[in-house]
């Protein structure tokens, strides 16, 4: 499973936690708030779940808004 697929799995875990519909795919340009519908609590949970898998805190040094920005942080590590 590549990092993008792992990220999709994590995003779906967050969506499932609040009984929302899962996504079948994500695109690099997707905005976490506008396209996926995450609020600040969802983003907090996303951060925690990403850290558990990739050992990186994506919000530690600034705001992350898109899928591409998350993938860059994960791949840079």
């Amino acid at each position: 499973m590549n990092n993008k697929d792992k990220l999709l799995t994590i995003i779906n875990e967050v969506l499932e936690g609040t009984q929302r519909e899962k996504m079948s795919k994500i695109k690099d340009e997707y905005n976490l708030r506008l396209d996926i519908g995450f609020d600040s609590f969802d983003l907090a949970e996303l951060t925690v779940r990403i850290e558990e898998v990739f050992d990186i805190d994506i919000f530690e040094d600034g705001i992350v808004e898109t899928i591409e920005q998350i993938l860059i942080k994960i791949n840079e590590k």
Binding site: G17, F41, A44, E45, T47, V48, R49, E51, E52
Partner: protein
């Protein structure tokens, strides 16, 4: 199995909290700078229910790694964080020493706030409606000569707790303060009898605060019997007036 992180576990009211929690079936993850003989004896009596890590809370930046990743990782579902560790600072304001003040704020405020950050992260990860409890002090509400700096650190916790409750309530996470009166512990041992008597005269019961009543109040708050209590300051203080 309900896991509780308790700081300042090895002495004073921390020891009594450990005893009460273990008697009710909780597993206590204790943190203190030093392991006391009393806590060691408790660990020997309940080896699976009482754990210990030596950590100095003035190391604010090591909390994620030492307290969480190496001690309470996300695989350990955290039910409650009890912020009990604190250092006292007894002096009049005109003698305020900035280094002492900074060290006290690291232990009493900065580290607890940073622990709350990671405790909430653990609770989100586990989808657990957990509890945060801060041990505050009656000195926040009733002024005492010599305790302005200490009271300021506890007042910061009360403000933080109220806002934690507001911010994280919709995820079921609760935050409360136990406002303890003066207890007969090592922390108050530097006070002279004269000072102690003056303090106790300001209480309705004319007595020091009973450690067991503090510990049992905490257990009640984190039990399933107090689900609607959050964002509160609960006074356990012999009726200080």
């Amino acid at each position: 199995m309900k896991n509780v992180l308790l700081t300042g576990c090895s002495r004073g009211v921390g020891l009594v909290i450990t005893k009460v929690l273990v008697s009710k079936g909780y597993t206590v993850y204790g943190i203190s700078r030093n392991l006391s003989n009393e806590y060691k004896n408790l660990m020997n009596s309940f080896p699976k229910k009482i754990k210990f890590k030596s950590f100095d809370l003035s190391n604010v930046n090591d909390i994620n790694k030492e307290v969480f990743k190496n001690y309470i990782p996300n695989s350990t579902k955290l039910h409650a964080y009890i912020n009990n560790a604190a250092i006292a600072y007894d002096d009049i304001i005109t003698n305020l020493n900035v280094d002492r003040l900074e060290n006290m704020f690291k232990v009493n405020v900065f580290s607890p706030l940073n622990i709350v950050k990671y405790a909430i992260r653990n609770m989100i990860f586990n989808r657990n409606s957990g509890h945060i409890i801060h041990l505050s002090s009656i000195s926040v509400h009733t002024g005492y000569k010599g305790l302005a700096m200490y009271a300021a650190s506890k007042g910061a916790l009360e403000a933080f707790s109220k806002n934690t409750a507001r911010e994280w309530g919709e995820r079921g996470i609760k935050s409360n303060c136990i406002v303890a009166g003066f207890m007969e512990t090592d922390m108050s041992s530097t006070l002279g009898d004269d000072m102690k008597n003056r303090i106790f005269k300001r209480t309705s019961l004319k007595k020091p605060t009973d450690l067991n009543s503090v510990a049992n109040t905490i257990e009640f708050i984190i039990s399933g019997n107090a689900k609607s209590i959050t964002g509160q300051n609960i006074h356990v203080d012999s009726g200080t007036i």
